[in-house]
Point group: none
Chain length 207, copies 4
DNA sequence: GATGAATGAGGTTTCATTCAT
DNA sequence: AATGAATGAAACCTCATTCAT
């Protein structure tokens, strides 16, 4: 019977959970959270739908886990940006890079984060909005620091700017996701990142 | 007493439809589209839920109607902006004004448009994405015109800029809606609009 | 105002009721009773659906009226057959003629009578089954009379034969209605009637 | 106590499906298809109504399954009749026997087949009419064979005769189902079958 | 761990019928 | 007589979740 055992033991518990989570991301991304059934996720993962409940409390918790796993990454990037450089434009480029590269690597995750979580956050328990808020605040702090340094015009509110910055990123990603904006590749992809930073820093006016 | 007749026919058909539509906007805005039941809408309007089906095919059509009614307004604003002025910054200000004022006047509508429609557009029928796309394209045309005039840096793609611009607006509104960003009033509200245009045109860097 | 009056008075009350009834027959025949909505009938008649309730108690009563109007005709034919001739085969031919001609003249009525009323009679109030029963009994009486006269084999139960006879007619009509059996025209239509009588009287065996 | 375990899994999946199907037959037969609710079926089967949807797409599919399961039996009987005997009257007796015995064994099934399916077939998807048609055609072929053999009068169309034959059977069964015709038992039941065959073959005229 | 049968709350939708105008 | 807005019971169906095996 060890042979059969092995077949079943192809994945460890943690791997199985991951498998289900990734299936969920794919399914949510394709059909949207509300239109996705637990059985869709289970089918995608190739497991019985009852098993999903071994690893997750309920459907909502799956979405929550996706959020936790990935939003943390952004937070971490923003947090470590300070350590990497002192240059404002470099800092912004790191954030832009992270997000656009993330789209390249895992558009499904971005889809879910942007579309499903942002959308429903208003109706969720407080903690999720707080998490969002934290990222915005951290960037605001960075901007505030540079404002004090004299890099940024003093009549602009850092928090407000933080929303502007992420707004640009979010809608560019949305355009990519909807297929109405063509994502670039290779060098152009990098140029695109620089462009975004430049637009935010210097605007679009020809100087 | 015919004038004060309270039971039925207080409203004309068109008014009743409007009543239901506005109730739907309020309910969708408070609970989100998926969490809203037809009976919630009917209760809010003070009618039997069967009546909702007298005026609308189904729940989705209510959302669709909200979209049609309001997205058209934005499209019209963008379309008429050209006739009002030749100045790029004035044009952008008109658009910004329309959207931020709309939030002031009817935050519920903005909530529904941004959260329920914009973010779930991927799952909607094609035509809706097209409608979105049209607004982006119209702005892109305007920007393209000014690029040719020499107002805008030539290395920037108008369509891309169009997404940046609306992205800023969208996330500012989202911040207002989530309550994480404080909307301003009166003069400051106007200053805020000018700020947004200025950020887009000249960036945030101190000159 | 007499002019307007006239327009409205195009139909008398009785004519309007007839109009609705005939529309109902057409609609029931096409969609079946349960799938037909009152509004379908009203549309077909070109009136408001509320008006249907001026002339009929409810939907069921419409069906009931169709039954009453038309089943009576068959009963009358069976009842008067005795007066017309003494010959068994002539009597049966009169009944067959009536039913097959009725199909030619008004297949919709036959459709409704056969499909909607016969089928649901089990679930209706007693009276309807009684009415059916009466037609079968009357024919049974006629057959019984001829049995006593020595025309019909004595080991056959007249009531039983009555069901056989109507069964033949009913399924031939059903075949016509379903389009799986080709109705004949003109002379062949008459020959068909004679055939049916002959089959019932002498069987199908070659003599 | 595992043997007497009463809560769940008393039946295998296939048995449970059968249980629901048989409950449906009973309910349809008593109340008619349209008047039967899914919950009636579930109650009759002693299960939650959601379970019905575990085994069947929808209500219509239940009816369809009943049809498939049982119409197939008749088709098979007609198909195998040729192998059993060369005598026309024996062949017809086998078919008559099958149908009248089926009524004895499972009047509910006959009720549903005759009342709900046969009579509403016009509104069902094409395939169902085709299935009916096939049985009629098979009998027509058999009759055609005997016509060529010289058993049956040459001026009669086999397809037409096939409708006559099934018409007789159908209305006799209808009489039984409506309770307006007394079904016989034992020997008389057998005599009744013979009678039907004889009527079809030799008619009712005293020779 | 794994399965999928079983449950039933919850929501949508239909449409016969009523009734003010 | 005529209209169609209004009502709400009724039924279907979905699917998250539980739980015996």
């Amino acid at each position: 019977m060890p042979r059969t055992e092995k077949k079943r033991r192809k994945y460890s518990a943690e791997e199985k959970k991951s498998l289900i989570l990734n299936s969920a991301i794919r399914v949510f991304s394709q059909k949207g959270f509300h239109r996705s059934r637990i059985s869709d996720i289970a089918d995608e993962a190739g497991v019985a739908y009852g098993l999903v409940y071994h690893y997750f409390e309920n459907k909502q918790e799956i979405l929550h886990t996706i959020f936790e796993n990935n939003w943390g990454l952004l937070t971490k990037v923003i947090d470590t940006v300070e350590e990497q450089t002192d240059d404002l434009s470099q800092k912004l480029l790191l954030i832009v890079s992270f997000m656009l590269d993330a789209y390249k690597l895992a558009p499904d995750i971005i889809q879910v984060m942007v579309m499903e979580i942002a959308r429903s956050s208003k109706f969720l328990k407080e903690p999720k909005i707080e998490a969002f808020e934290k990222a915005f605040s951290r960037l605001a702090e960075i901007l505030s620091h540079h404002q004090k340094k004299g890099d940024i015009a003093t009549d602009l509110e850092p928090k407000f700017l933080s929303y502007c910055f992420f707004g640009i990123l979010e809608l560019i990603l949305t355009g990519y996701l909807l297929g109405t904006l063509q994502p670039k590749n290779g060098e152009q992809h990098e140029a695109c990142k620089a462009s975004l930073v430049s637009i935010f820093l210097h605007g679009i006016i020809k100087r």
